[in-house]
């Protein structure tokens, strides 16, 4: 544990805790509001954006946010109105983003895999700065406050968006806001987890928590805990085995998901109780 004496590792560990908490928290809304496909596309365009940032030697966080916001802007309404099948849009967006990302990375100034390129590709724990931590903590507080304030609306929209609308709730504002938050979280997590795996952070903890519990109020607590636990475990695995931290986090959260599915109390009772 001597690593932990160094500020750089302490920061990295804290960073992991916060991206885990945030990913797990927002992930529940992303999954239950059926925003998974948008989250998926946003993650990959954040990746392309970060790659562009590296190529142009500007802050990758900024370009990642711009790219994921642009994607949300275009794909959000398309998904909302179902003009085109959402699968089609996301498949095309995926290949476009990957193509762009790899072209940008080829144009990055340093030769070979510089640490910045590596960080964008598969994440890096040593890259977490104090500024990143401040952003993560701020985003965490804002997210918690908003969820607390608008829990009633969010809860209803997760149940069924059309019914929420019929009840007199302005669902659009809340849905777009969640997309926006998810985009920010993706962009902030990208450095640690890597552009290709950042989506795991949004999707895996929430999906695992949803396997276990029948009460949304408990799920909203369990999912961030699973997220943080995956990230902490991933952090140490990465440290000791010297493999990329993003892969470790993705693997561990996938493992947790698999275990959750196997032990899910929801799956054991297949039949429904008819009256």
């Amino acid at each position: 544990m001597m690593y932990l004496e160094y500020a750089i590792f302490q920061r990295a560990l804290l960073g992991c805790v916060f991206i885990g908490l945030l990913g797990g928290l927002i992930g529940v809304f992303v999954v239950k509001m059926r925003l998974s496909t948008i989250g998926y596309s946003m993650s990959h365009s954040a990746f392309a954006g970060a790659a562009l940032g590296v190529a142009l030697s500007v802050d990758p966080l900024l370009t990642a946010i711009i790219f994921s916001a642009t994607t949300a802007f275009f794909i959000g309404p398309a998904a909302d109105k179902a003009r085109l099948p959402i699968d089609t849009i996301t498949s095309i967006a995926f290949s476009l983003n990957m193509a762009l990302a790899f072209i940008f990375l080829t144009f990055s100034p340093q030769i070979g895999l510089s640490s910045e390129v590596a960080s964008v590709l598969w994440g890096s724990i040593v890259s977490v700065t104090n500024r990143d931590l401040v952003y993560l903590i701020a985003l965490c507080s804002i997210t918690l406050a908003l969820i607390y304030l608008f829990w009633k609306e969010l809860f209803t929209i997760m149940f069924d968006r059309k019914m929420a609308e019929a009840d007199g709730i302005n669902t659009k504002i809340f849905v777009y806001f969640m997309i926006f938050l998810a985009g920010l979280i993706v962009a902030l997590s990208l450095k640690i987890v890597g552009g290709l795996l950042v989506y795991a952070l949004l999707f895996n903890p929430a999906s695992s928590a949803l396997q276990y519990l029948h009460d949304m109020r408990k799920i909203i607590f369990l999912s961030p805990i699973i997220g943080a636990a995956s990230c902490i475990a991933g952090f140490f695995t990465s440290l000791f085995l010297d493999i990329p931290v993003g892969s470790c986090i993705a693997l561990i959260s996938t493992l947790i998901f698999a275990v959750s599915v196997i032990f899910s109390p929801k799956r054991k009772r297949r039949w429904r109780n008819e009256d």
């Binding site: 608008f150 149940f159 799920i219």
Partner: protein, 248 residues
């Protein structure tokens, strides 16, 4: 007094479609009125209800509900409408109890940031008691049978304490015995609370009173708007012979 619901030459077109799903509809409902909407599949019954509560944007015409333009003040209007959608089913794994689902009906009215009070919860439980499902309150709603879920949705609409009830085939998953009971219950609640109620139904046996106002739709148009007895005679004679028997 102005009618509580008024549609003038209303046509609704779904996005991406060319033909309107309902066309040139003119209808008025007075406060406290109780009406049925009948007609074959794809007649536009669901579209009519969702046009009235503003979930669908209209293409032509004018609708006012509670003296508000629905296209402009949809949210305010919907806070006063209890809506039971057609074939609403919750997946078995969904993490919501029946009580959650009923209580949610009141959230739009409570308003943004407000919290549900004890009174809101009591109203929700009272509505569940009315439908005799209060013992299901803490069960996951997705694990209930289709009929029980339908009762949950009706309770949700009633708990909202709306001025208008729009019910889209609310009896489709109930057994015949519950159908009778629930349709009488809705008729009674509507008259006690002076609710304006519009029920879309396939099941003409459920129409409690043969003098009830009955709106018959076909191909997006209203083809009759009269007492049930007359509507039945018309349907049988002119429009779709056998409709009455098939829709049992």
């Amino acid at each position: 007094m102005a009618p509580i619901i008024e549609l003038r030459d209303v046509s609704t077109v779904y996005e991406g479609e060319k033909r309107p799903a309902i066309r040139d509809v003119n209808l008025t409902f007075e406060e406290g009125e109780f009406a049925y909407v009948i007609g074959p599949n794809a007649a536009g019954k669901t579209t009519l209800l969702e046009t009235i509560n503003g979930l669908l944007p209209i293409f032509k015409g004018r609708i006012s509900v509670l003296n508000l333009d629905v296209q402009k003040y949809g949210k305010q209007v919907r806070c006063q409408i209890g809506y039971v959608p057609q074939d609403f089913m919750v997946d078995p794994g969904e993490p919501y109890t029946a009580l959650d689902a009923v209580l949610m009906g009141r959230y739009g009215k409570i308003g943004v940031i407000g919290r549900p009070s004890r009174e809101d919860k009591e109203k929700a439980i009272e509505a569940m008691r009315l439908l005799e499902i209060e013992d299901l309150a803490n069960k996951p709603v997705g694990k209930l049978s289709g009929g029980q879920q339908q009762k949950v949705m009706i309770a949700r609409a009633i708990a909202k304490e709306p001025k208008i009830l729009l019910l889209d085939e609310p009896f489709s998953n109930l057994d015949p015995e519950s159908r009778d009971k629930i349709s009488k219950l809705i008729a009674q609640t509507s008259s006690e609370r002076n609710l304006t109620t519009i029920i879309v139904t396939h099941d003409l046996h459920q129409i409690v009173d043969s003098c009830s106002r009955t709106i018959v739709m076909n191909s997006g148009r209203i083809i009759a708007d009269c007492e049930l007895r007359k509507a039945l005679a018309l349907i049988e004679k002119w429009y779709f012979p056998g409709f009455w028997r098939h829709s049992g």
